[in-house]
Symmetry: C2
Subunit: 217 residues, 2 copies
DNA sequence: TCCCGTTTTGAGCGATCGCTCAAGGAGGAC
DNA sequence: GTCCTCCTTGAGCGATCGCTCAAAACGGGA
């Protein structure tokens, strides 16, 4: 093994171990010893390489979010309609669950409420997702009556936040979470239906949207 | 103090202290000692009255959800339009935040992923909210083109889950959470606009909805 | 070969964890 | 008064926490 590659490999092991420990034991059980055990290294290396447990978890959060986005980026970018976006969300969620990656970001978000050092990392992880979703939304909404009415950046954040909530929900009530996802798909069908309206009806919708202010409430 | 009222008062103090400790220290910091300190009682009473820390937190979760629903039930039931529902959500969230009640349910949901004893209580707490929201949705959606297209029970769960996600989001990125809420309000304006369409356009929307299947995807 | 900087190790520090326990109030029944 | 039951207390158990440290192991340059 090359000299300079040793420390780097250990860091990789610790980051992977941190994500695995978060899935398995939650934020409360992700201690230096459990993370190191999951990584197969000595627990003192957590502090040698990352300084503290919180800093390791923050780094793992960034890495986890990047990996997850990378796993699904191609399919997310292939989305062209709102209903496809929801179908993508359901499929991605099922796959992540199958692979045991679920709720890591949610655990870190919960921990960030009381561990200030985790907040920037979790916010960055969410933003990574939100930016991907925002790009899709901008493309999907362009030309529809919704264009210019809804803020794509805000909507993307809402979608990202909702997904975190749904992942947590699924952990305590899978059936309820499934019903929620189905209802959202039905809601997406409404938005898609507006796109498919005949020109006159579509014009009426657009007009009503403008008249209602387009700024909510 | 009457004989039978002593234990009951201690239990009340512990439940309140548990909620306060959850807000202040998060699920990871809500130990028997911190909860008892917040309640102003001896830590051994946690185990005398509730058996374990997890059982106390579960009871506090139920109580917290009930109290929160009770605090806002009147105004929630006064909601008659979808846009009012979102405005209510934003106002309730701001009030709860002001009062320091935010993210308790979110903390418990995160903890429930790895503490099986918490899962039923958090699921029940979410359901309490979802049922209130579901009743409002049934009333609000009745007679609109959305009636019969979207499942009110599932949609209510989606709303409840999304709100949990948004509370967590706000803890790490207040501006992003605010943008998300605004975007949702804009989305609500679209649904409201459909309600306000002229009869012909509205009929076209309803027809398109039926043609698109009404079951999502 | 020896040296030196990096990495790894296992022991151990003080603090906190969930929980138990023996001991002692504080009413109410008699 | 004497019980009896419920409630409360402070000490303390073993385990785990984040983190530190001295010493060993290792690999490359001289």
């Amino acid at each position: 093994m090359a000299r300079d590659a040793k420390g780097r490999e250990t860091r990789e092991k610790l980051l992977d171990g941190a994500l695995r420990a978060l899935v398995e034991h939650g934020i409360a059980g992700a201690s230096a010893r459990t993370v190191a055990a999951a990584a197969g290294v000595n627990q003192a290396l957590v502090f040698y390489h990352f300084g503290s447990v919180d800093d390791l978890l923050a780094a793992a959060c960034r890495r986890g979010a990047e990996q997850r986005v990378a796993r699904h980026r191609d399919r997310l970018r292939a989305v062209t309609r709102l209903t496809d976006l929801l179908a993508f969300g359901r499929a991605m969620h099922a796959e992540e669950r199958e692979a045991g990656h679920v709720a890591v970001l949610a655990q870190l978000l919960a921990g960030a409420q009381t561990h200030p050092r985790l907040a920037p990392a979790t916010a960055a992880g969410l933003d990574l997702w939100a930016e991907e979703i925002e790009a899709v939304l901008r493309r999907v909404l362009a030309g529809t009556p919704l264009d210019g009415v809804t803020d794509p950046a805000g909507l993307a954040r809402a979608v990202a936040a909702s997904f975190v909530g749904l992942e947590l929900y699924e952990g305590v009530d899978p059936d309820g979470a499934d019903a929620a996802l189905t209802a959202l798909e039905q809601l997406g069908a409404l938005l898609a239906a507006v796109e498919e309206l005949n020109p006159m009806a579509r014009k009426a919708v657009a007009h009503t949207l403008r008249r209602s202010g387009g700024r909510g409430r």
